[in-house]
Structure formats: structure tokens, C-alpha cells
């Protein structure tokens, strides 16, 4: 496994290096330049500071989304009435390009933290809600019958069977929600007002410092990939699949 991973990295970065050196466009720096830019930006702290700024709306948005989204998803799963009212809306929201509404956020809430938090929430909420909902709905009927056969009450059914079973999908929803959150914060920072990572990208883009621009972009992709990968490992640990 390790050997293939290494080969994979080498292949990717190797191709990148070659592509960069090919005189296609001055805006496409080779891997080596990008890597050096990355090191420089980490060293002088600009990258760190940018992440600190970007992390705020992302973390805030995800936490709010998680609490409200999971609660709502569970509500949808347990109550047929709530499900009837909300399910069609969330199905549409999952397919919809929520990014279209972001310009509106700027209008309503200005260019500050609120808009960005809302952007994260808007993109992450549908998937968190839907996964929590599915976790509740997909409780194996056999387990529910078993609970009834031992004269379990409805409350016991929900607390001891439905909720623990839903936990796995809720976690998946959170992981996918975080992925959407990253997407949301990047779009927000590129569209609303550049701050943090978005600022670095736009600034270096406008000053034509492409290695630094690329390095920033690569770093956010890497940060997203690593955190999601870690979450997935955690998920498999907590909820082993048969």
C-alpha cells in the first residue's frame, strides 16, 4: 500500500513539474516553484494567519449547522409531519446550486463574518440534515420488532435503538457537511470579500505571483483532504462495518 501511495505522489508531482515547465502559460508554475512558495509562506506566517481567519467562519458555521442540522434531521426522522413538510425542500436543496444565493447574503449581511458563516451553513446544512434523517429512517425493522417483543416502550425504542443506530449516518453527514463547509468558505471568501485564504489567493493572483497563488490553493485542497481523511478513519473506527 505504501509503495503505491508514494508512486502516486511522485507521478502526480512529477507531471505537475513537467506541465509547469511546458511553455503553455506563465500562470501555471511548476511543482518546485509552488513548493518553495508554500514553504516561504508557512515560514513567514502569512499562511498560518490566513488559516486562522478562514477557520473562524468555517468552524462556527459547521458547529451551528451540526447542532441545528442533526436535531432537525432527527426530528424529520421521528415525526411524519415534519418529514412531510421538510423532505421535499431538503431534497431540492441538496441538488440546488446554493452558491447562487451568496451574492444576496452580501447584500443582506454585508461583507463580514455573518455572511461567511451563513454561506457555510447554507451549503453544509442539507447534507447534514438528510443524513441524520436517513439514519433514523433506516433503522432495521427487525431491531424495532425485537424491542417490542420484550415490551419496550416507544421512548426506549427511540433512545436505545433508533438513535444509536442513526449515530453512524449522523457522523457520515457531519463528514460530508465539513466537505461542503470547505467548499462554502472558499466560495464565500472568493465572492464576498477576500479574507484569510481567499484573500491570499486573490492578492497573489492580482499581483501575478502565481507560485504563491497556487501554493495557497494547493494548501487548502490539502487541508480539506487531510481533515476529511482523518474523519473517515475515525468514522470507520467508531462504526466498524460488518
Amino acid at each position: 500500500m505504501r509503495r503505491w501511495q508514494l508512486a502516486s505522489f511522485v507521478l502526480f508531482f512529477g507531471l505537475w513539474e513537467l506541465a509547469g515547465r511546458w511553455p503553455v502559460s506563465p500562470a501555471f508554475p511548476p511543482f518546485s516553484n509552488t513548493f518553495l512558495a508554500l514553504v516561504e509562506m508557512t515560514r513567514d506566517g502569512t499562511l498560518g494567519k490566513a488559516y486562522l481567519i478562514t477557520a473562524q467562519p468555517l468552524a462556527l458555521g459547521i458547529v451551528l449547522c451540526a447542532v441545528a442540522g442533526i436535531a432537525f434531521g432527527i426530528g424529520m426522522g421521528l415525526s411524519r409531519a415534519i418529514e412531510w413538510l421538510s423532505l421535499p425542500v431538503f431534497i431540492i436543496l441538496q441538488a440546488a446550486p446554493m452558491a447562487a444565493i451568496i451574492p444576496l447574503l452580501t447584500y443582506m449581511y454585508g461583507i463580514g463574518l455573518t455572511s461567511k458563516v451563513l454561506a457555510v451553513i447554507m451549503l453544509a446544512a442539507p447534507v447534514i440534515v438528510m443524513n441524520s434523517y436517513k439514519g433514523i429512517r433506516n433503522t432495521p425493522p427487525s431491531l424495532l420488532q425485537m424491542c417490542r417483543s420484550f415490551q419496550g416502550t416507544r421512548v426506549q425504542e427511540v433512545v436505545k435503538i433508533v438513535l444509536p443506530h442513526a449515530a453512524a449516518l449522523v457522523f457520515t453527514g457531519l463528514r460530508l457537511g465539513l466537505a461542503m463547509g470547505f467548499i462554502g468558505i472558499v466560495i464565500a471568501e472568493l465572492l464576498i470579500t477576500p479574507t484569510g485564504i481567499g484573500d491570499l489567493i486573490s492578492y497573489h493572483g492580482s499581483t501575478a505571483d502565481y507560485p504563491k497563488m497556487f501554493a495557497t490553493i494547493a494548501s487548502i485542497v490539502a487541508v480539506a483532504a487531510i481533515s476529511l481523511h482523518l474523519l473517515q478513519r475515525l468514522e470507520l473506527r467508531l462504526f466498524p462495518r460488518d
Binding site: W4, Q5, A7, S8, L11, F12, V24, S25, A27, F28, W84, L85, L87, P88, V89, I92, Q94, A95, A96, P97, M98, A99, A100, I101, I102, P103, L104, T106, Y107, M108, L176, A179, F182, I183, I185, V186, I187, L190, L191, I197, I201, S202, G205, Y210, M213, F214, I217, I220, V221, A224, A225, L228
Partner: protein, 243 residues
């Protein structure tokens, strides 16, 4: 249908909220519908729609033409699967919109960037799901076909692709949804063409009825595309369970 009833309730609530002027940015639902009817036949909208559909179509076509074969190769050739697998997995959940500024710098500000954006948004999930579908294609079906002397191309056309079709279609549907997001985001970032431009114009000029009309139309489009592919999925559903 129950779903329709639920949506009607929402439209009614929207109408009431709009009439009561609960929020400056929410006009009554009827006003939004009126605006939709007004702008739909205009030339401006027509042009924007065509550009958007064109970018979407091209980007998706590229994603299908590259994604599906790539997924097949990744599933059937162990080495390729292992080399590329990690990257496909990374890019499936990565914030691809971060790459758009690069595209703008390299490819320029225009439709090409949007097409590439759509392509990048859609291709990874299509590749991944195709790979999964082919990998999990029933081994015993493959053995059975071989035992009756099937040649390689027959194996693909008569067994593998059909067996993997449910997963492939699922991947295409997800890819299409992402593609719509891609075309909107791409156009918003590029800001001078298509519906992305219209969104900016409407919100900057506080033309709320038009803005929401456009939102509704784009959302409906995304939903329609998703449902169209879901209909295809349902047609192959009958054998998905029996594999």
C-alpha cells in the same frame, strides 16, 4: 401526491411572507412568478440561458467521455486504480472552486473557464462511481460469461457495463448536480457571462423579484436534470437488487 401538497404549502407561506413584507429581500411568490414570466422571453435572458446550457452541456459531455472510461480502466487495471485512486478520492470532496482563480489566470476569463469548471466539478464523482460499479460487478457473472467463451469486448458490452449501470448512473446523476453547481459558481466567479452575471446584476440592483425568479428557474433546472437521470436509474433498478 403528498410531495406536491407540501410544496404548495411552502408556496403559500412564501406568498404570505412576501405580502406581509416580513423581509425586504423576500417578495411575494406571485410577484416572483410574474417576474419569471416576464424575463423568460427576453433576449438578455435567452442569451444567458444559452451560454449557461452550452457550458453545462460541454463540461458534462467531457466529464462523461473522460470519467467513465477512466473509471473502467481504474477498475480493471490494478496499477492504474492504485495510482490514481488516491487523487480521485481527494478531488471528489475537495473545494474545487479554489481552483477556479487558477483557471481564470491560465485559461482566461470566459466560457472556457466555466466549461473546465463544470468538467472538474463533475468528473471525479463519475469516475469514482464507475470504478466502484465495475469493481463490484458480479464476479460470478464474469466467470459465467467466460465459461461460455465470451471475448473481451463482449465481456464489457454484455456483462460488465450493464452490471455496473446502476452505479454509473448514480455517479452521473451526482455529477450532473455538481455540474450545475459548477456552472453557477464558475459564472459567479468569472462574473461576466451567463446566469452568473444575471445573478450579480439582479442582486446589485436590488431587483429581488427577478433575482428569486432566476433562483427558482436554476433550482428547477438542477432538480429536473437530477430527476431525469433518476428516471433512467429507476429503469435499471429492477435488476440492481438481484445482482
Amino acid at each position: 401526491m403528498k410531495t406536491l401538497l407540501s410544496l404548495i404549502v411552502w408556496f403559500v407561506l412564501w406568498e404570505i411572507a412576501g405580502r406581509l413584507k416580513l423581509s425586504t429581500i423576500v417578495p411575494p411568490f406571485s410577484a416572483v412568478i410574474e417576474a419569471a414570466i416576464e424575463i423568460a422571453p427576453t433576449e438578455k435572458f435567452g442569451k444567458a440561458a444559452i451560454i449557461t446550457l452550452r457550458s453545462f452541456g460541454l463540461g458534462m459531455a467531457l466529464a462523461l467521455v473522460i470519467g467513465i472510461p477512466l473509471g473502467i480502466v481504474m477498475a480493471r487495471v490494478k496499477g492504474v486504480g492504485r495510482l490514481l485512486g488516491m487523487w480521485v478520492n481527494i478531488f471528489v470532496s475537495a473545494p474545487i472552486s479554489a481552483l477556479v482563480p487558477i483557471l481564470m489566470a491560465v485559461v482566461g476569463i470566459g466560457e472556457t473557464t466555466v466549461v473546465v469548471t463544470v468538467f472538474l466539478f463533475a468528473v471525479f464523482v463519475i469516475t469514482l462511481d464507475t470504478q466502484v460499479g465495475i469493481t463490484h460487478a458480479d464476479r460470478s457473472l464474469v466467470e459465467m460469461a467466460r465459461s461460455f467463451g465470451a471475448r473481451r469486448h463482449q465481456l464489457y458490452s454484455k456483462v460488465l457495463l450493464l452490471s455496473a449501470l446502476p452505479e454509473i448512473l448514480a455517479g452521473v446523476r451526482l455529477g450532473a448536480i455538481r455540474g450545475v453547481k459548477g456552472v453557477v459558481i464558475g459564472q459567479l466567479l468569472v462574473a461576466i457571462i451567463g446566469v452568473g452575471e444575471l445573478f450579480e446584476v439582479y442582486s446589485n440592483n436590488f431587483l429581488m423579484e427577478e433575482f428569486w425568479a432566476l433562483v427558482v428557474m436554476v433550482f428547477l433546472f438542477a432538480f429536473a436534470v437530477s430527476e431525469a437521470i433518476a428516471a433512467l436509474e429507476r429503469r435499471v433498478e429492477y435488476y440492481a437488487a438481484a445482482r
